[in-house]
């Protein structure tokens, strides 16, 4: 490469305000091997791209360096322009003069010099560039959706309705997720289960959806379009093909005092159980941790009860493998428990509840059949206090973010209380009321104005018990920080929404990144909110951040569209930025000595064994080969290869070395 064109972009004033772009172009123009160097206001604009195309033709350029914004932003733009002019797109490189230079430095001589250095490095790199061809990989048109909450349900249905197969896996015995636990939903106060259950049934009956409940992802191998998911089907101990779901076993089960997960610990369930009446599938599983038979080796009452002989005591976990082309992560969220709050009694006061527990109290399917009663004594609370931002927006608690849904559900809770307990008094302690959303502000106003909920702006310092009453001590900042003390029969904490337990491990299994709070990270906060950094894996719902139902459903549909779009192609085109093990003519074949240290180092299982055989079929050597479908171009193998037998195409050792040396050689 020796006829290189260099194009320096002003990026409006983004670059040119701090960097002397004319000087950059001038100095780079004097570099050995640079045939043409110009600067222009907007290189990404049509006229800007035309400059590049024309220069490629006019000067017979065999390499292009664009000094502009980040490659992430416009590399495809400039590469396309080069390709249109007949230059292999991978002979076009970008120097990031904006994020790496102008945005992070003051206007000065040094800033311009740094810009020159950045471009110079890329000029040296592009001299060593080789034309590359894109890699084409086939697509398996089947999606895996992980998580059977509303996000997973919606994503599954949407994908299934585009005609593609979906495998939906759910950790619990039933799909439904948190939405199935909710009483009524803001801002319309329609019954959560009433709107959810039809969807659950639709999932169960959809011909394109294969549902695995009580199942977890064991591992995921492969790459976009070609994943291999190993799924652990946890032993249910009940044969679903014969079980009629009659429920007789559940009624007879002697272990009845297990706190019900579905009721957020407020009710109980048996050891063989269906989590809730509308569960899908509506068939029981045996909770082996609590079952008498598994604990002590005797009981088997359910077996005796079962008319169809569906109990399978010796059933073991089963691991199945499914090939899928895309994955939607919809593993949802969790809420902090009351035990997270020392100031509110560490969860030891029975009548201090989480919002989710209050949902169960308010729900007709709940332990109190929808009546608001104190867990401690079953009486109806006359005075109730809601504490918003319990944990959220509290850096001291390690949760600086806003959980987003609490303002709304607290208003809803207060409203439901007022509707259900006539003459009751409800107070809400809040920091700010965040009611962004269609009809949300109106909803909150209704709680305050129509349902006479007492909103106190201030934080609650302590909740403690005194003479059977809960004393809520806080301040009212609107009254100048005046201390307030309220006697309450019940306190409801709008505890923070947090990442689901196990999300970190799951993220590592899937090689998706996650934020410091273990929520999965989207690929771009604005423009790629449902993509992850791992191609082919998408996000839906609250596993990415706390969000309400409409937002979750919208995101799930968004993810579904991404999957459908992916499946609309028979082949995928991938960047050829992958590792390659060198091959040489016989008798050398390769400098690879087959130690396979690269194999132990590769996080993507992309290293394969390749046998080199002689003409007579005898094995000459076994060397490493990179599966270019699996390889993500991370370069770990390259760093690890002692004999330097592996290189990343487009980022070869020679190229990177040339870049570094261009700086050192000044």
């Amino acid at each position: 490469m020796s006829k290189i064109g260099v194009f320096i972009c002003h990026c409006g004033e983004n670059i040119s305000a701090t960097v002397d772009v004319e000087r950059v172009a001038r100095e780079i123009g004097g570099m050995e091997g640079v045939a043409h160097a110009i600067d222009y206001k907007y290189m990404c604009s049509d006229p800007g791209q035309t400059f590049i195309k024309e220069a490629v033709k006019k000067y017979g350029l065999d390499g292009v360096v664009v000094g502009a914004c980040s490659p992430r932003m416009h590399e495809p733009t400039f590469r396309r322009a080069c390709a249109e002019a007949g230059l292999n797109p991978y002979l076009c490189e970008m120097a990031n003069l904006r994020e790496h230079c102008s945005w992070v430095h003051e206007k000065s001589e040094e800033t311009t010099e740094k810009a020159i250095d950045l471009v110079k490095m890329l000029v040296e790199k592009v001299k060593k560039d080789k034309p590359l061809e894109s890699i084409k990989v086939p697509v398996t048109k089947r999606a895996l959706v992980i998580g059977g909450g509303i996000a997973g349900i919606q994503a599954s249905l949407d994908i299934a309705n585009t005609g593609h197969k979906v495998i939906l896996i759910e950790r619990d015995p039933s799909i439904g997720g948190h939405m199935s636990q909710l009483s009524e939903t803001f801002p319309t106060l329609d019954c959560s289960q009433c709107i959810l259950t039809p969807r659950m049934v639709e999932v169960a009956q959809h011909p394109n959806i294969k549902l695995y409940t009580y199942a977890e992802l064991e591992s995921l191998e492969g790459f976009i379009g070609n994943f291999k998911a190993r799924i652990r089907l946890k032993a249910k101990s009940v044969n679903y093909s014969t079980c009629t779901g009659c429920g007789a076993c559940i009624q007879k089960c002697p272990v009845k005092k297990i706190p019900s997960e579905f009721n957020a610990g407020l009710g109980t369930r048996t050891a063989i159980y269906v989590p809730f009446p509308q569960a899908v599938p509506n068939k029981p599983v045996i909770d082996r941790v609590n079952c008498n038979y598994y604990k002590r080796g005797a009981c088997k009452i359910c077996e005796k009860t079962c008319q169809v002989g569906s109990i399978e005591w010796d059933k073991e976990d089963e691991i199945i493998t499914e090939e899928v082309g895309a994955v939607v992560l919809a593993t949802g969220f969790d809420v902090k428990g009351t035990d997270f709050f020392p100031e509110y009694g560490y969860g030891k006061y029975k009548d201090v509840l989480t919002g989710l527990q209050f949902e169960r109290l308010a729900s007709a399917s709940g332990p109190t059949f929808g009546e608001i009663r104190r867990p401690s004594d079953g009486t109806i609370p006359k005075k109730i206090v809601f504490i918003a931002c319990a944990g959220s927006r509290d850096p001291a608690k390690g949760i600086p973010y806003c959980s987003k849904i609490c303002c709304m559900y607290t208003a809803k809770h207060a409203m439901l209380y007022q509707h259900k307990v006539h003459g009751g008094e409800s107070t809400v302690f809040y920091m700010d009321i965040r009611a962004g959303g269609k009809n949300y502000e109106e909803f909150v106003r209704r709680a305050i104005e129509e349902d006479t909920v007492n909103y106190v702006r201030g934080r609650v310092a302590r909740v403690y018990e005194k003479d059977g009453k809960l004393i809520v001590k806080g301040v009212d900042t609107l009254l100048g920080g005046q201390q307030v003390e309220i006697e309450a029969d019940m306190v409801v904490l709008a505890t923070a929404g947090v990442a689901n337990c196990g999300s970190e491990q799951l993220a590592q299994k899937l090689h998706v990144s996650y934020d410091p709070y273990h929520f999965f990270a989207e690929a771009h906060p604005k423009l790629k909110p449902v993509e992850t950094n791992t191609a082919g894996i998408f996000l839906a719902g609250a596993c990415q951040a706390p969000k309400d139902i409409p937002e979750t459903v919208g995101m799930a549909s968004g993810a579904a569209v991404k999957v459908a779009a992916l499946f609309s192609n028979d082949e995928l085109v991938r960047e050829p930025i992958v590792a390659v093990v060198n091959r040489l003519a016989p008798p050398l074949y390769s400098t690879c000595v087959g130690c396979f240290m690269c194999e132990t180092a590769c996080p993507y299982n992309a290293i394969e064994h390749e046998e080199i055989k002689g003409r007579d079929g005898s094995l000459i050597r076994t060397i490493a080969r990179v599966n270019e479908g699996l390889c993500q171009g991370c370069g770990t193998c390259v760093a690890f290869c002692r004999s330097k037998s592996i290189d990343i195409q487009g980022y070869t050792n020679e190229q990177v070395y040339a870049e570094v040396m261009s700086l050192l050689n000044d």
Partner: protein, 280 residues
């Protein structure tokens, strides 16, 4: 002391770049110093050390004919550090050249004889020098036959010259590609060089065969020539071994007692019989 530094190259300007085949280029080099140009002379078969400044030196034969004055040419394939450094240069750039080194094809001795040139792949360059040399002194020789083969049509080098030679009435030109290497419009032969030689080579009577190609081709062509009646002193080849100095000191290129850089690179088959074949 005004001893000359053997390792100091002449500075040459790349006057012309010809792309021969994928990864293969020919550079025409001109001396930057007029007096050096005037004093320079070489003969067919000789080689030199070519510098890409910044990368190092590499050994190639001089591919142009000594009858064409004022420049030398080299043809190379981009395979290593130096050749890739060379490949990235362009017209007007400076290269280095040391030479000429080594012995020569005895064209004077061949006067009045038929010549058959047999070459394969990238080994045509050393041959090209002597072909042009012979063609420029055409009256000195009788029939001239050129048999040239490559892996595929794409791999044939000096395409223009192949055409020129083929069009000449005083040259018999046979080009061949390995089976599978032909294109739809290929009009030449298809087959490995030794096989083709067997069918198209002229009579051994008063003929000199010059063979140049990869070791495997030479290995299979020699017996064919023998079968056709060529004696060992009628067959010539030029050898290549790894070299660093080009002047018999660095210790690499010897084949037994003989140094390719000094006693070669041109050897008659008769001479080859006295050196161990495993060392080249």
């Amino acid at each position: 002391m005004s001893e000359k530094n053997t390792y100091l190259p002449y500075l040459m300007t790349i006057d012309k770049v010809i792309k021969e085949a994928p990864g293969v280029k020919t550079y025409r080099l001109k001396f930057q110093d007029e007096s050096e140009a005037a004093a320079f002379d070489f003969q067919a078969g000789q080689f030199g050390e070519y510098s890409a400044f910044g990368e190092g030196e590499s050994t190639f034969c001089i591919a142009s004919s000594p009858t064409r004055k004022g420049y030398i040419e080299c043809t190379f394939r981009d395979t290593g550090r130096v050749t890739s450094g060379m490949a990235s240069l362009e017209e007007g750039s400076t290269m280095g050249f040391r030479g000429p080194y080594g012995n020569v094809f005895p064209l004077d001795e061949w006067k009045g004889k038929n010549l058959v040139f047999i070459a394969g792949g990238i080994a045509l360059p050393p041959m090209r020098c002597v072909i042009w040399n012979a063609l420029d002194l055409r009256e000195n020789f009788k029939d001239i036959t050129i048999i040239y083969g490559a892996k595929s049509v794409n791999d044939l080098v000096y395409k223009e010259e192949l055409k020129e030679w083929a069009d000449r009435p005083d040259v018999r030109m046979v080009t061949t590609v390995d089976p599978g290497g032909q294109t739809a419009d290929w009009t030449g032969e298809v087959g490995f060089v030794p096989t083709i030689v067997e069918t198209v080579a002229p009579s051994a009577e008063n003929t000199i065969a010059i063979v140049c190609g990869p070791p495997i081709m030479i290995k299979f062509t020699f017996p064919v020539l023998e079968k056709l009646g060529f004696t060992d002193s009628q067959v010539y080849t030029t050898l290549e071994n790894r070299m660093k100095c080009g002047v018999g000191k660095c210790g690499r290129c010897n084949v037994g007692k003989l140094y390719i850089c000094k006693d070669g690179p041109v050897f008659s088959k008769a001479e080859l019989n006295f050196i161990p074949a495993e060392e080249y």
